[in-house]
């Protein structure tokens, strides 16, 4: 029996019981109809499905926000975090898509990994991203940096820095990542667009081991989210070992890219492009990169509801999210979690998300060829 009929049967059963009770209590039928208008979660239990293990970035993000949402949602419901890790977050999201009810009591937390696997056409996907309605979308910047042994800190201009990198053989520019299609793809395509090719080493467990390899000098090129670069790699910045190259910047609501507010004095990739080629970035390769950038930066973390949730319930969630965001940004810990990035709450989030969950057909072709040529892996990206 499939999930839908099973659920609807259960719902039917409940509805029948409710109807019987209301019919028995003569005269209350009318009030039962109107009470749906005012959203009230009192006594309810809200499940937040986190498709990652306890302790990870998305888990901490969700656990951090939960008490604030308990405070600001109408009726102060209890929020429980439910971890369903596995399959590159696909298992947990599939579970959510099959199981979630549409009354605003089921939330799914998504991350860059979730969206990126979806965009690159992961075979394990059993859901449609468009079915999830974003409540709050929290971007995080990306910083790309190199080791000081490469000597680019001595070059005066951004153009000279990139040219210096370009002059090295591949063996000098070593990048360590998880797999060819994981997060570091945005880093590698960016460098390729600037004419710099790196030697990639795979199978690293995550950002921690990647940074450790960088610190040991086994890798010379690396990236981190800007906040953790500033916090966790502080000693490498201080000793001069990590030299910032550029950030990916942030996407504004009009689609333009501006500097990362966490590091306003570091140029963006767009600026590097302009410095090298003397014109505004454009072309299929750039479009492809921009989608990868959107998925890494803009779609860093989010909370979502199920499609079909009544509009007034969605609005109640978004109102709460605005209050949560305003209060969180007043606390030092909140500023650390969210950083100076403008969170997106409202319908505009749906459109912005598409930038990072789909690709223009030409850009998709370019990306597929990029991955096939270099790593002999086939990807079938979602088309816009």
């Amino acid at each position: 029996m499939n999930e839908v009929t099973r659920l609807s049967r259960r719902r039917l059963f409940r509805t029948v019981t409710t109807l019987a009770v209301t019919a028995a209590t003569f005269g209350l039928v009318a009030t039962a109809g109107t009470s749906a208008a005012a959203v009230d979660f009192s006594g309810k239990r809200i499940a937040v499905i986190v498709p990652f293990s306890e302790g990870g970035g998305t888990d901490s993000y969700s656990r951090f926000m939960a008490p604030y949402f308990e405070k600001y949602l109408p009726g102060n419901p209890k929020i429980v975090i439910i971890n369903r890790p596995g399959g590159g977050s696909m298992s947990g999201i599939n579970y959510y898509a099959a199981r979630a009810s549409q009354d605003g009591t089921w939330v799914v937390a998504l991350s860059t990994t979730s969206n990126s696997n979806y965009m690159l056409g992961d075979k394990r996907v059993r859901f449609d991203m468009e079915d999830f309605i974003p409540i709050i979308l929290s971007p995080r910047g990306i910083m790309q940096y190199v080791r000081k042994d490469l000597g680019i800190q001595n070059e005066p201009t951004l153009k000279a820095k990139i040219e210096k990198l370009r002059s090295y053989p591949k063996s000098k520019l070593v990048f360590g990542g998880k797999t060819p299609t994981s997060g570091g793809l945005a880093l590698r395509t960016a460098l390729s667009i600037l004419g710099v090719e790196v030697n990639s080493v795979w199978g690293l467990g995550g950002n921690g081991p990647m940074a450790l390899g960088f610190e040991r000098g086994e890798f010379t090129v690396n990236y981190d989210n800007t906040l953790s670069f500033l916090n966790n790699r502080a000693h490498m910045i201080k000793s001069g070992m990590a030299v910032p190259l550029y950030t990916f910047g942030v996407i504004n609501e009009d689609g333009s890219i501006s500097r990362d507010p966490a590091t306003p004095d570091v140029p963006t990739f767009n600026e590097a492009y302009k410095a090298v080629y003397g014109k505004e970035p454009s072309g299929t390769a750039y479009e492809g990169w921009k989608s990868l950038m959107a998925v890494s930066v803009t779609l860093s973390k989010s909370w979502n509801l199920m499609r079909g949730t009544p509009p007034e319930v969605i609005e109640a969630w978004r109102t709460a999210a605005r209050k949560v965001y305003a209060e969180v940004m007043k606390s030092p810990k909140g500023q650390k979690v969210f950083g100076p990035y403008k969170n997106i709450i409202g319908d505009s989030a749906i459109k912005i998300r598409r930038l990072g969950t789909t690709l223009e057909p030409d850009a998709a072709k370019w990306l597929a060829k990029y991955v096939k040529d270099r790593y002999n892996i086939a990807v079938a990206a979602k088309l816009r």
Binding site: G88, V201, G203, N232
Partner: protein, 660 residues
């Protein structure tokens, strides 16, 4: 480097910790840690995730005292199920089962516990001590461990299998290859391709480690005891209690000290991960001591080694966690998540700005270990009585417990099937004498071995072999292999025809060997579907496996007198029920769970099992079943765990924590 201010902070951290509020949080953490440690299959991950919702908004030093307090006793209390029931309490005490459980069967359960707890406390305190001193000097050491060094560490750990192969080295090594191949199931580390997974999402991550551990040890042991005896302790006695165990530690102080140091080092170094520390300590103690014949049959040294090492490991594992934000183990990963919620960033600041918090953690670790040991010793004689209870009362609960623990892994139905499948494999491996530790270690190490081979080669070519630490590790590996060959207890051994190694009726074991062989061939064929980097590890491992299987199966077929390669436990067993009988019971449990959900299905299973095996006492057995539901409901509530749903339950409005 250590100046007076540091000493001041160190002492201040102690005084802060012995304040009543801190002590209460620490104590609370210790109690929770003891509880999750005693329940098999639950470990630091489950315990910390219970704590996480409360950590938010707490005072950092209280929160840390509680979280470390939880981690400290895990490796102590997980000894209870390992020794008394043959079920590894956490993945860190699997090796304890090998000698600890036979001790319990001989009626020496209390002694084994006493020895284990005392050794644990010693290891834990030493770990905290090493952490205090080493944390200032560890940075350069950890930074010296590049990919080449990590690779050799994994290989050194792998060579320990030589000591754990059972009666036939050939068979043990072949099993290890099967373990390595099972471990490469899932996402290929170098390319992200899905291997051997039959398009299943569940298998795209590989089989969860906790399930492999429970399948290899817990399920076969429960079934074995059910078949053989009516009670775990064959003498129905407890033995002289923990005083004797304490004396054992004094007698073998040198083993305890060495294994503690070993545990610290393995915990601190990147590359190996904490889960194998018990096996390495166990292998080490066999390699370096005399009178090896008694290992595996209830030698107290086999309990002391893993237990001192697995507690010492926590102190070591905190070093990379605090200094680099790189978790040394699964529970350390969640601890890091807790750090974010409290608002502290791991890194060099833990030695400067947050030194007070670092010392709070160290003190919590030391005090937590002492508290845990005292509590465990108090409990030991009572809990050990479980071994004298009629086993038919215990067994259904233990089946429920291990399936509950397995379900923790990814919270899918597939977890239950995975445990059943691996448990069945474990039952046959036990029967036919295939080394389960060898499979387990291969399984653990495959996901570490494969990427480090690529990484060492891609970064260094073959020049990593010229690095001094690598050369040192190569020599250590060579010595370890030599020791395995030289000190093998089986050299020149002869066997009797009527024993388990006899020649007649060898078809069942040949059939089982053929299953392993077929899997290896399948892996080799499958490896050609992937890119070069995605398939090469499987190709080489499967080829080596086939080279081992060819002579092995030849010897098994042609042996004309009893030999080490032959083994069938059924030859010496004259009992009422077969393995299949109990496997069928478990399938029945699945059917009940499928009908009425996990908690109620398990309750019915407990009820029917007792009615059938003990005799009709409907009221008493119904109470037992209800106790099972109550336990599962409470656990579900605290772990925010949704159980597998039953087909029938959808028609009723059952609370979510009862499977609704």
């Amino acid at each position: 480097m250590i100046d007076t201010t540091m000493v001041d902070i160190f002492v201040a951290a102690f005084y802060q910790l012995v304040e009543p509020t801190h002590l209460i949080f620490l104590f609370g953490g210790v109690i929770l840690g003891l509880t999750v440690g005693i329940l098999p299959g639950l470990g630091g991950i489950a315990g910390l995730s219970v704590l996480l919702p409360f950590v938010f908004g707490m005072d950092p030093s209280n929160a840390l005292a509680m979280m470390i307090g939880l981690l400290a006793p895990l490796a102590t209390s997980d000894t209870f199920p390992s020794v008394l029931m043959g079920i590894p309490g956490t993945s860190n005490s699997q090796a304890t089962v090998v000698d600890g459980f036979p001790m319990a069967k001989k009626g020496e359960g209390a002694r084994a516990l006493g020895a284990a707890f005392t050794a644990s406390m010693f290891g834990g305190i030493l770990g905290a001590f090493v952490l205090t001193v080493a944390i200032f000097a560890a940075r350069p050491v950890i930074l010296a461990m590049g990919f080449g060094e990590q690779l050799l560490l994994v290989i050194l750990a792998l060579s320990m299998i030589g000591m754990l192969t059972g009666t036939s080295a050939l068979k043990g090594l072949a099993t290890c290859c099967v373990g390595l191949l099972l471990g490469s199931l899932g996402t290929a580390p170098a390319t992200g391709e899905f291997r051997l997974g039959f398009e299943s999402i569940y298998l795209s991550d590989g089989i969860p480690i906790v399930i492999v551990g429970l399948g290899m040890f817990a399920m076969p042991e429960i079934i074995d005891v059910l078949r053989r005896t009516s009670r775990i302790s064959e003498t129905a006695k407890l033995g002289h209690g923990w005083i004797q165990g304490f004396k054992d530690v004094l007698t073998h102080w040198w083993i305890v000290l060495r294994c503690s140091v070993l545990g610290c080092i393995i915990g601190a170094l990147p590359g190996l991960g904490g889960s194998v520390v018990d096996w390495i300590a166990y292998g080490h103690v066999i390699q370096t001591t005399k009178n090896r014949e008694r290992y595996g049959t209830g030698d107290v040294r086999g309990v002391l080694a893993p237990e001192s090492a697995n507690n010492a490991k926590e102190g070591g594992a905190l070093i990379p966690t605090l200094l680099f934000g790189i978790p040394g183990s699964g529970s350390m990963a969640i601890l890091l998540g807790g750090f974010i919620l409290i608002g502290i960033e791991p890194g060099v600041t833990m030695l400067t700005q947050h030194l007070d918090l670092t010392f709070t953690m160290i003190w919590s670790l030391a005090i937590g270990n002492v508290l845990a040991t005292l509590l465990c010793l108090l409990l030991a004689n009572y809990v050990a009585r479980l071994t004298t209870i009629r086993y038919a009362y215990l067994a259904p609960f233990m089946f429920v417990l291990i399936f509950f623990a397995a379900y923790q892994a990814t919270r899918e139905w597939a977890d239950l099937f995975a445990l059943f499948t691996l448990g069945t494999l474990g039952v046959f491996m036990k029967r036919f004498g295939w080394s389960r530790p060898a499979l387990l270690i291969g399984y653990f190490l495959a996901p570490r071995l494969e990427p480090t081979i690529y990484q060492a080669y891609q970064v260094y070519g073959f020049s990593f072999l010229e690095r001094p630490i690598v050369i040192g590790l190569v020599i250590a590996t060579a010595l370890s292999i030599y020791a395995a060959w030289r000190f093998s207890p089986n050299r020149g051994a002869t066997y009797k025809e009527e024993g388990v190694h006899g020649t007649s009726g060898r078809w069942p074991q040949l059939a089982f060997a053929a299953v392993f062989l077929a899997f290896t061939v399948y892996a080799l064929v499958d490896s050609f579907n992937y890119t070069w980097y995605g398939g090469i590890f499987m190709k080489i491992t499967a080829s080596v496996g086939l080279l081992l299987f060819a002579p092995l199966i030849y010897f098994m077929v042609r042996a004309d007198k009893p030999a080490g390669v032959l083994h069938d436990g059924e030859r010496t067993l004259k009992v009422a029920h077969s393995d299949y009988h109990y496997l069928a019971w478990l399938l029945g449990m699945f059917a009940l769970v499928g009908l009425v959900g996990f908690p109620f299905g398990c309750a019915l299973f407990i009820f029917f099992f007792m009615q059938n095996k003990i005799g009709s006492a409907p009221l008493k057995h119904a109470i037992m079943g209800i106790a099972g539901v109550a336990f599962l409901g409470v656990m579900s509530y605290f772990l925010t765990l949704r159980y597998p749903e039953g087909v029938l339950l959808q028609f009723f409005d059952v609370p979510w924590w009862l499977g609704g």
